[in-house]
Amino acid sequence: MILNTSILKVAHLKKYFLIKGEGLFGRRKDIYAVDGVSFTIDKQETLGLVGESGCGKTTVGRCLLQLIEPTSGEIFFEGMNIVGMSRDKMRDLRREMQIIFQDPYGCLTPRMRLSALLMEPLEVHSIGTRSERKDRVAYILERVGLRPEHMQRYPHEFSGGQRQRISIARALMVNPKLIIADEPVSALDVSIRAQILNLLVELQQEFYLAYLLISHDLSVVKYMCDRIAVMYLGKIVEMAHRDEIYENYQHPYTEALLSAIPVPAVRERRGRIVLKGDVPSPINPPLGCRFHPRCSYRVEQCDQIEPELKDLGDGHFVACHLR
């Protein structure tokens, strides 16, 4: 029926940040934050982007919305390349693509009441008449589990979980097709997280949303996502269907990441793989495979030749010389 089911297609996305070198006349250096990332997201699909801090997952999210300009690469939203698009056109396009940030304390203007916070996206995009806007606000408010009497309150009067509900409501106001959720539950208390995750699932089914879920928490990603991409130092090292990642992982980094998670259950200790050393700096990424200095399976070519992302079939991709 639908010829093209993908809503977003990212090809060879790169983002380098320039920083000043050491000393007064130091040469400027590049930080290779995102270095050639490609993926697609289908309609109503959830893609998980996991990795440790500094691997570039947040930068990818911001590039998609053109909140920062990519260095190179292409981003197709419903078949249209949005890299280099004019500001006006991009603003219109943001009706279709919204973002939820990690910190529910920092991303709401403290001087605006909830009613104004929710009205703002509709005003920016000139959607509807005054009464239609009010109806929409009331409807979304109820959908995210907030009450009408909250409308006159300021952000500081809400708890962390409620603030995250407000952020979600703001993203939903303009009826988007894709929501980028950047660590939506990391800043919340453990007993509140399940509430927000359940809400995100409900809303996805009701509003036919596609999600890009950026997270470092592999148990959250496993629950929420259809497909998962694992990032390390600016590159996707493995990408596959959810169950494939957890049961049939192919990359040594995915294996180490999975084995490092402390599991809340008492049982025999698994053979934990503890990675040696720190994540290298993205200013000077290692030659060859970026994971090779910490990899216990490395072979000769790993420190020379950078592995390509290979298709193992069934949408399972891995960048490793051993496969």
Binding site: V190, Y223, P262, P264
Partner: protein, 330 residues
């Protein structure tokens, strides 16, 4: 509980810590009692604001006054009540016999001194070593916590090290005087999972090697399950459940503990958003200044009874050494 005096190292009895704020009196720690044996690893788990950090800081008497004050109870270390000591006597305990690892390795180290300088300061102060000997000891400590080429790294400033390295320095500093108790407050929370695994392994190894007792404070049930032997679960300033780690995870008794465990998505098996909805705990953590009457978990509890809303439950020993503060088990 049968204990000979040698085994019992630290005992906290009916500790009450209040914060006097404009919004009212916040009972940050409310009637908390527990004990610790020599060489034991005790976990304290709870959400932000449950009083776990305040409890640990109270043991070292590091509560800023005002607004906070220890208003009741006792902290007995090797039979001596720490609350009765003078500030000068307390300084001999802090960092020497009981030391602390803080959550933020970025902000807990002084940025304008080298790490060598900061660790040797502790050693010189408490052990009276001279500068050269203290530095040698410092290098030895850094080697023990797994910092490569420690002779070089002692001259580094904290900003020259990664987060994991700084946490290793914090651990070296806490261990420098071979304390009997280490209070580790979220030692791995600010770190990435692969680095967290390294740090937790290190703490476990050193604890075994040096036979130190460790209080591990965290919000992460996974870290608790894999690291400690006995657990206290805290909620709104109170210990709601206390058990061995096996009993706690195999048969949690308090509805809060049970709810927490069931709300976390499982890494095993096929659970996902299509197969089942996450079991959430409704409501929010109440404000410490306006706690509900009776049991503080009662507004969120799925099995609440009339008595819960009227009277706070006492501690019941349901099985040997498994305690719970819940009327369901009376």
């Amino acid at each position: 509980m049968t204990h000979t005096m040698q085994e019992l190292l630290l005992e906290v009895k009916n500790l009450e810590v209040h914060f006097f704020t404009y919004a009212g009196i916040a009972k940050a720690v409310d009637d908390v009692s527990f004990f610790m044996d020599c060489g034991e690893m005790l976990g304290v788990v709870g959400e932000s604001g449950c009083g776990k950090t305040v409890m640990a800081r109270s043991i070292l008497r590091l509560i800023p006054d005002p607004p906070g004050r220890i208003v009741g109870g006792g902290i007995f270390f090797e039979g001596q009540n720490l609350l009765g000591l003078s500030e000068k006597e307390m300084q001999k305990v802090r960092g020497n016999q009981i030391s602390m690892i803080f959550q933020e390795p970025m902000t807990s180290l002084n940025p304008v001194y080298t790490v060598g300088n900061q660790i040797s300061e502790v050693i010189r102060l408490h052990q009276g070593l001279n500068k050269g000997d203290a530095l040698d000891r410092c290098i030895e400590m850094l080697r023990m916590v797994g910092i490569p080429s420690p002779e070089m790294r002692v001259k580094d400033y904290p900003f020259q090290m990664s987060g994991g390295m700084r946490q290793r320095v914090m651990i070296a500093m806490a261990l420098a005087c071979r304390p009997k108790v280490i209070l580790a407050d979220e030692p791995s929370t600010a770190l990435d999972v692969t680095i967290q695994a390294q740090i937790l392994d290190l703490i476990r190894e050193l604890q075994k090697e040096l036979a130190t007792s460790v209080v591990l404070i965290t919000h992460d049930l996974g870290v608790i399950a894999e690291t400690v032997q006995r657990v206290l679960v805290m909620y709104t300033g109170r210990v709601v459940e206390q058990a061995s780690v096996e009993d706690l995870f195999n048969s949690p008794l308090h509805p809060y503990t049970e709810g927490l465990m069931r709300s976390i998505p499982s890494l095993d098996g096929k659970q996902n958003k299509y197969t089942e909805r996450l079991k959430e705990i409704p409501g929010i953590v109440p404000d410490l200044c306006h706690l509900p009457q009776g049991c503080s978990f009662s507004p969120r509890c799925p099995r609440v009874m009339d008595v819960c809303r009227q009277e706070g439950p006492p501690f019941f020993e349901v099985w040997p050494d498994h305690y719970v503060r819940c009327w369901l088990k009376s």
